[in-house]
């Protein structure tokens, strides 16, 4: 089915989120919608899906003008959407989820589950999904849950499928499989809109690429375009994609972790007997698929985990089971992986967030009083230094974009006297322009002689930053390898396979 958007305009108050956007997706085409966070991609797709009403413009399917009052109309017209956050009910089976909202019943109001099951099996066989219709969604891995979403859309005869940032939650392998599925769908004539900000994926799978910036279409590109070209289109200026860094000048071992084990509340070993060392002036990157113990490892380093065994030693000071306060005072800087949950207080101003982990004494507190003047000076200086795009230091952090929020976290942590920096997912949900900046600052921190531990699920980031790479799988270290280890080796290690002998450092 051919999808055409003509002059779509959507305003929120004085803000124009979509400004006369034209987009044509031919039948059997994978059309990539590329843009930074907040460029207006999601707004556009919500207009297409009937969640928002456009202020101006038309949606056409096979040259017929459509009027969608809600997602129901859009679905009936053949538009399906695979959301970034799955819209599944975890305690229902696959078949139940698929029929949800379109339940057909037999005599006596009984649910017609057999038909739903058959449908799931049929679609699943057609595309080689291997999804059991009777499995509980809760028990399925994330990648499979996403397939259930796809099956859901296909079972309603969707001819246009919208994938909203589908790869954010997937492992590299699952991402590859998803790409395969998208190609298969394309073969059957389904039109696909693929929303992403990951350049590699775009070039791999797209037939055509439309780049959106600030609510406007700023250009079209062919999949043959280079990463740098695409990135500069997205950001509006030339972007450096590789991190410029010198050879590390290694100092003494600073952080020595031995036999670290973290036990979660239900008694599982989420970090299992992990030992490693980070030297001064070195970036050790922890690679691995989300949920293999990296989060718990960083939390254990910060004293946030209640049940920890083994030893954590920083510059000769034993930090095992010390309080968070003591660990921060020992000079540990921490960029948490979920900044809105753990790193910032959204309702606080930028200035207040900048003093969040220094609320106990100098320089911002004297005799129990907050030194507002000193804080304001400091905040203004840091906002400038870290290029936080904001109206002022009294803006609430909640109103900032993800990249600017992360800059606030980084500014706060890097402005302390650090002896160790732990950065978890430092560029997650951050726009390309800010990624460049954040990476630069992390490398600068290393060059200042601070040991740095970076945890990332993005292989690109790991490779860009790491002097050495530690791969984790199921709470254990698979191996610690040099920073220039090829990606395919790393990919295998992330799946739990030990590196070939000799590759280990």
């Amino acid at each position: 089915m051919k999808l055409e958007l003509r002059g779509i305009t959507k305003r929120f108050g004085s803000l124009v989120a979509n400004d006369h956007i034209d987009l044509t997706v031919e039948a059997g085409e994978i059309h990539c919608l590329l843009g930074e966070n907040g460029a207006g991609k999601s707004t556009l797709m919500n207009v297409l899906y009937g969640l928002y009403q456009a202020d101006d413009g038309q949606v056409l399917l096979d040259d017929q003008v459509q009027q969608f009052a809600g997602p129901g109309d859009a679905m009936a017209a053949g538009i399906g959407m695979v959301h970034q956050h799955f819209m599944l009910i975890p305690v229902f089976t696959v078949a139940e989820n698929v029929m949800l909202g379109h339940e057909s019943t037999r005599a006596g109001g009984l649910l017609d589950l057999p038909t739903a099951r058959a449908k799931v099996r049929e679609i699943s066989e057609r595309f080689g999904f291997h999804v059991d219709p009777d499995a509980l969604v809760d028990d399925l891995p994330v990648g499979v849950q996403q397939r259930v979403e796809i099956i859901k859309a296909l079972s309603r005869d969707a001819r246009v499928l919208v994938f909203d940032e589908p790869t954010a939650v997937l492992t590299p392998q699952e991402t590859d499989e998803l790409m395969g599925i998208m190609r298969q769908l394309k073969e059957t004539g389904t039109s696909i809109v693929f929303i992403t900000h990951k350049l590699r994926e775009v070039r791999e799978v797209a037939d055509r690429i439309t780049v959106i910036r600030l609510g406007k279409v700023v250009g079209e590109a062919a999949p043959t375009a280079t990463n740098a070209e695409l990135a500069s289109l997205m950001v509006g200026r030339a972007v450096e994609l590789t991190v410029q860094k010198e050879e590390p000048s290694l100092g003494d071992p600073a952080l020595i972790v031995e036999g670290l084990t973290v036990i979660d509340p239900i008694g599982q070993l989420v970090v299992n007997d992990v030992s490693f060392t980070v030297r001064r002036g070195e970036i050790l990157a922890v690679a691995g698929v989300q949920g293999n113990g990296q989060t718990e490892l960083t939390e254990a380093l910060l004293g946030l985990q209640p049940r920890v065994e083994g030893s954590i030693n920083l510059d000769g000071t034993e930090l095992t089971s010390a309080s968070v306060r003591r660990i921060l005072d020992a000079g540990v800087g921490f960029v948490p992986e979920d900044r809105t949950e753990d790193g910032l207080v959204g309702e606080f101003t930028i200035a207040e967030n900048l003093m969040l982990d220094r609320s106990g004494g100098a320089p911002f507190v004297r005799a129990g009083n907050i030194q507002r003047g000193a804080l304001a000076d400091f905040a203004r200086e840091k906002v400038k230094e870290f290029d936080v795009r904001t109206q002022g230091i009294d803006s609430k952090v909640r109103q900032l974009s993800g990249g600017n929020q992360q800059k606030v976290v980084l500014a706060r942590e890097l402005s302390r006297d650090l002896r160790l920096l732990v950065a978890a997912q430092p560029t997650r949900g951050v726009d390309v322009g800010s990624i460049e900046f954040i990476h630069k600052r992390i490398v600068e921190t290393r060059d200042a002689g601070v040991p740095v531990l970076v945890v990332s699920t993005e292989l690109d980031e790991v490779v860009a930053l790491a002097d050495r790479i530690m791969v984790m799988y199921r709470g254990r270290i698979v191996g610690i390898v040099p920073g220039d280890t090829p990606r395919d080796v790393l990919g295998l290690m992330m799946a739990g396979e030990h590196p070939a002998e000799g590759a280990a450092a």
Partner: protein
């Protein structure tokens, strides 16, 4: 001083009244929390995912918490509009319950003007009486007599503001202290016991009684804070139950000779306070306004300083807004819960102390709290949990209390109508979408949610 204007405070604790209050407590918004929170927790558990990272120490904010938070810290305009709406609805109810209106409406189709006139007279009369009963009475000859209602308003407002500050402070730290009644009772008992049972010089006696009461209230609330910090017990449940415990404990003390009961009496009532312990009057003996009001102004300034200027308040607010981030930033969240409850309890204690040492000095019963512990929640909500907002809201409710009696006396408006107006205010505050819809205000959430990033990008570039 137990004149008819203090029926609640001075009345004997009939079997109905206290029980009623407890029932009301259970219908307070807080009581729904256990159920809803469980639901939220279930939802989170089933949603799975890597979300529950820092869960071990800090209970994650529930959906209920978020809603409460929005109610407690929303827009000031909503507060004003809620009061306005409540007054309008109150006017309708006054008109409906007025006998003359009912009479005139009997021949509405013959002479509709009569009905409208009766409505106008009843409503304007009632609100004029409210004004005269709470601010200035034009029917009195001298200014001093005319201004007396205002001083009554301030007297009534005194414990409401103190209690409201306590509830508001707990709100800001993310806790719902509905144990105001228990904290007031304990504080009143301690202060009262010191007030009538000891012989100390003037000034010192009052100070000791005041401090004793504040400590009593603080410790009583501190139990809830400590239990929350150490065991994760929800403060709503604990404070509700501590209300019962305090009430029956104080009732027993009042009934037991040699403890709080007045010697030679069989009533569950204490002896009168000694003169050395009583708060001095601010404006001379013909007015009821006492030193408590000055203490409440000081308390408001102190709470403002704590919340806006001190590092302790900074940590309080950080914990209240995002306990996870606070914990990651090295703030001891558990201690903050305990400290906040101690201060909150001391403020409610101030409300209790000002009752026994200022307003009802002839000895008190177990009804001394007069429902102020619960009204304080309303006051804090109306004041949006800010110190000065709470101050103003306390004055408003003081005016309702003072003016309510004159509405009843002068215009025959049932006192219940005034209480209905108060309850309507809470209802409208608790439902900002309703107020927004009625006044066609833009919904901040709808504009904010979908485009937080876009707005920034657009402004910036």
């Amino acid at each position: 001083m137990s004149d008819p204007q203090h029926p609640d405070a001075a009345g004997t604790p009939g079997p109905g009244r206290p029980e009623l209050d407890v029932d009301v407590a259970i219908e307070e918004p807080g009581a729904v929390s256990p159920e809803k929170e469980t639901a939220a927790e279930d939802a989170r558990a089933t949603a799975g995912g890597p979300g529950g990272t820092a869960g071990a120490d800090v209970p994650p904010p529930s959906r209920w918490h978020t809603t409460l938070h929005q109610i407690a810290t929303g827009n000031a305009i909503i507060s004003v509009l809620a009061v306005l709406l409540a007054l309008i609805v109150g006017a309708i109810m006054i008109a409906f319950t007025d006998e003359r209106v009912q009479e005139a409406s009997g021949y509405f189709f013959a002479r509709p003007g009569d009905t409208f006139l009766a409505i106008w007279e009843s409503v304007s009369g009632a609100y004029a009486a409210l004004f005269q009963g709470s601010i200035y009475n034009f029917r009195r000859d001298t200014f001093l007599a005319g201004i007396r209602p205002l001083t009554e308003t301030l007297t009534f407002a005194t414990p409401l503001i103190a209690g409201g500050l306590g509830v508001a402070l707990a709100f800001r730290v993310g806790m719902f202290n509905i144990g105001g009644r228990g904290q007031m009772l304990i504080a009143a008992s301690v202060a009262g016991w010191i007030g009538f049972g000891f012989d100390l010089p003037w000034g010192l006696h009052m100070l000791v009684a005041l401090v004793g009461g504040l400590v009593g209230g603080a410790l009583w609330a501190g139990i809830a804070g400590l239990l929350k910090a150490r065991t994760g017990a929800h403060e709503v449940i604990v404070t509700i139950m501590l209300n019962y415990i305090a009430f029956y404990l104080v009732s027993w003390l009042l009934r037991t000779p040699g403890l709080l009961q007045a010697p030679g009496s069989s009533n569950p009532k204490t002896p009168a306070m000694k003169d050395t312990a009583i708060f001095p009057s601010l404006l001379g003996p013909q007015f009821n306004l006492h030193l408590g009001f000055v203490l409440v102004i000081i308390a408001t300034v102190v709470v403002w300083w704590i919340l806006s200027r001190s590092s302790l308040g900074f940590r309080f607010r950080a914990v209240g807004e995002n306990p996870n981030a606070a914990r990651v930033a090295g703030i001891n969240v558990r201690n903050m819960y305990v400290y906040a409850m101690l201060i909150s309890g001391a403020l409610l204690g101030l409300a209790g102390v000002s009752q026994v040492l200022g307003t009802v000095t002839t000895g008190f019963t177990a009804g001394i709290d007069a429902g102020i512990g619960f009204d304080a929640i309303t006051v804090a909500l109306l004041g949006r949990s800010t110190p000065w907002g709470t101050f103003v809201a306390g004055l408003l409710f003081g005016a309702f209390k003072a003016g309510g009696f004159s509405m009843q006396a002068a215009e025959g408006v049932p006192i219940e109508i005034v209480l209905v107006v108060q309850s309507l205010i809470v209802l409208f505050i608790a439902a900002p979408p309703l107020v927004r819809t009625i006044f066609r205000l833009p919904d901040p959430a709808s504009r904010r949610r979908p485009v937080p990033n876009v707005s920034q990008e657009v402004k910036v570039k």
